[in-house]
Symmetry: C2
Subunit: 139 residues, 2 copies
């Protein structure tokens, strides 16, 4: 875990790619209790104008958050986490699925050893989470 003293505004967190497959979504349906058809039915998703079956926003958010929690090591030091779901993440019906690419940058050093991290999450080159940031406490 980096210490508050070591960290500077502008520092990049280690970026990560996260595959998202239909299997993830079927599992997340059961784990979350959110069985909305848009997360598993191609025909329903198409009917309501989506580009296909899409990821649960909370699942995308959770995956993206790993860039922060892996950086700090201790998920218990994540104080705040906020995103806007700006674009659906379509997941094709194959074994590969899609991928979200997540990077983070130290945006601000706050009081009480807290640091604000801005996150960027893209899928096929397009931003899928807007105004995404986390506030963590460092030792």
């Amino acid at each position: 875990m980096p210490t508050f003293a070591q960290v500077n505004v502008g520092d990049a967190l280690p970026a990560q790619d996260f595959p998202i497959t239909r299997l993830n979504l079927v599992k997340y349906c059961g784990a979350s209790g959110d069985f909305n058809y848009i997360h598993w039915s191609e025909s329903f998703a198409n009917e309501v104008g989506l580009p296909g079956v899409i990821s649960h926003g909370m699942f995308t958010m959770a995956e993206a958050g790993r860039v922060v929690t892996d950086w700090i090591g201790d998920p218990g030091q994540l104080c705040e986490y906020s995103v806007r779901f700006t674009r659906p993440v379509a997941v094709p019906d194959d074994l590969v699925g899609t991928t979200i690419s997540v990077s983070g940058t130290v945006a601000e050093k706050l009081d009480d050893n807290r640091v604000k991290v801005d996150l960027t999450a893209t899928c096929k080159g397009e931003t899928v989470l807007g105004r995404a940031y986390a506030i963590v406490r460092l030792p």
Copy 2:
């Protein structure tokens, strides 16, 4: 609940139809822990030569068993239940899904107030469970 004395070989149990939808299967994936692709991925199911996404055999079996447990009232009096999964139950990707039709007949009166019930389960006119029977204990 019928009593042992009231029941005769050849008696028909009240038949029932059970819809099976993709939503049922996605839920059963999470409930059972069986996330096999054949139960939710159209492309995978087609690739392995199935007529589409198919029901978990145990789910079909569980639904069919309701004809027996609804008849006796108390599921705790179901002593034995056995089926063979003889034909896959294909479930289309729409809100209607498919339907299994289940009927039962009293096949044998056994000792100790037990009764053997033979079950027939069909989907689109074809048998989907083979050698299906239950043994129940009646008052």
